[in-house]
Subunit: 194 residues, 4 copies
């Protein structure tokens, strides 16, 4: 299998995920401003998830762009990532409809954590296939940002049981970390890790 | 990242948006003609939005076709545009189901305005990347039509609070402006602006 | 715009239409065989529409394959066709849920007629662009099958008001006409027309 | 028609199927952990179906990759396969929502059987087109795994009427058979068949 097919399929799945997420924002029956206002939490959770899926799509590209040969582990690591991304609409809808209460906010963090873990596994699968001296290893490095994210989501998900607002703040901050042009952040994170 | 990936992803998202919009037209329980008739407002709002998404897809192509290098600002300006387009099904369904009453008709205008503003930002991001002497600047020019649309939608959205029918007429007229082959309208608009 | 973009976008929309149609087949609450049995009409209407969308996708390809240059009329004639195809899930669901009664069966025919009319317009738009001596005109010929379908759907839709079962039979027969390899049927139809 | 169009369209449909399947996992109204817990059967059936669709996508690629010319039988055998795959979301949702009871578990097996039968027909259509001495026949061989799957699904579907748990175990085992890298399993199966 060539890389471009894997990319096209992943693009398709991610495009659908980012779009059906909006279906959780159900058209209200009333036609007043306060009917709209009651949808605000769902809207805000949609905005956050839209940005996250955008970041994943962006990173996914940069990742697959460096793959020379699609092996079975890469293929399944990729499908595994798409699986957790496919749970974003559910987790987003549940968190939004319940106004960012404890358990739904925790679940959101768990899905986030699993998706970032799946990304980590995908990076590992590509690393194993490309070999130690590949340009992939040089560019991706120790994947510090990716690994740190997994633990931040885990930490936030646990925290959500008591203070969902802080957990939510962590989700937003991690998104910002990824949103800011990569190299700069990575350099900063490298310094921190050292 | 190459342009064709950005185009393919955007195409995918726009294709899904234009198609799931029809899901707001719920299958009625009755089987008589008047059951169908009661769906007329939803159908009409669907027709309007279908044409709008068609116009956006068309313009989006012409725009991305001129991009030589995808920079981070272009990528995020593009996702920002897709975000507002993804709200079309919601805004369309709400306006249709409430028979073009004030607030839903206003929201439709606000989403329209944000989408056209996002287009404007995308044009600006491409302009900044391509440079002052690029063929892009020559062709797109002052983007008068795009800028004028933003203000027309804003105007219509405010108007919708009192006279939604006039606001709706403006939405239809702006769609016609974009529907008519570009160059001709642009020339006319240039004259008007001068 | 190049043909391949128009094809890719149309493919995307048609792929979504053919897939969301199945969403009209709602998961029943009971878990017995008769719960499934009550879905039979919806299932049968889904099968018919699936075949129809498959035929449209197939013909659409052969059509666009012969296009050398995408003009504005071709682009909008294509979007117009996609618009009517996008109403298939609605028409299919309504007809199935109402067990092929008069008005829903009539609507199905109307949507079919409009889609075949839209195909006719697309053929005309391509013809106009390619010119009289093009290979397109030679291959497509008088588009007898396409034109005949429009009138057969119209006839069936009117008939549906009194005898929906006969209308349904016509829908099935027209599908078979298109399903059978093209050239053979076309030759037969040419003879009939003469 | 070229192979890449058939692949792109199939990819699109499969990408949508794998993604809309998650829509059967409805966002619960409550916000407690037990609301989530009650969704566990739907989630598990989603996991199983996600893996299955992933396997189908993977095999579909390897299959179409070897096709040199798309004939009408290949095209319709492919659409026939997509039809049965499109019923996965329905069968998955029904089985999950009814906690793996008899009839829904049976239906799941029937849909599985039909999809594997459709795969078999697709292999046969390609075989017929490529000819006896083609590399396709050499690689695919007797398609023992594909044929065995059809009968295993049939067996499991019948079994589901009395012991759905055993049927479910068979579905999982067959998935594992396909999940494990192909060549190894095929060699083992060849030995078994001999």
């Amino acid at each position: 299998m060539k890389t471009n097919r894997l990319e096209a399929f992943s693009d398709g799945v991610i495009a659908i995920i980012i779009t059906i997420m909006v279906l959780e924002m159900k058209v209200p029956h009333g036609n007043a401003l306060h009917d709209l206002y009651s949808l605000l939490p769902v809207f805000l959770s949609y905005v956050l998830s839209f940005i996250y899926v955008g970041i994943y799509w962006n990173n996914h590209h940069h990742l697959l762009h460096m793959v020379k040969k699609v092996t079975a582990p890469i293929l399944w690591a990729n499908l595994h990532l798409l699986f957790w991304l496919s749970l974003f609409p559910f987790a987003t809808g549940w968190m939004g409809e319940n106004h960012f209460t404890s358990i739904p906010t925790m679940l959101y963090g768990v899905v986030m954590m699993m998706a970032s873990l799946a990304s980590w596994l995908l990076v590992a699968a590509i690393s194993a296939s490309e070999g130690d001296n590949s340009s992939f290893k040089t560019i991706v490095g120790k994947n510090a940002k990716g690994k740190a994210s997994v633990f931040l989501y885990l930490f936030a998900a646990i925290l959500a049981i008591w203070v969902p607002s802080v957990a939510l703040a962590i989700y937003v901050i991690v998104a910002l970390f990824w949103f800011v042009p990569d190299k700069k952040v990575e350099r900063e994170l490298h310094v921190k890790v050292k």
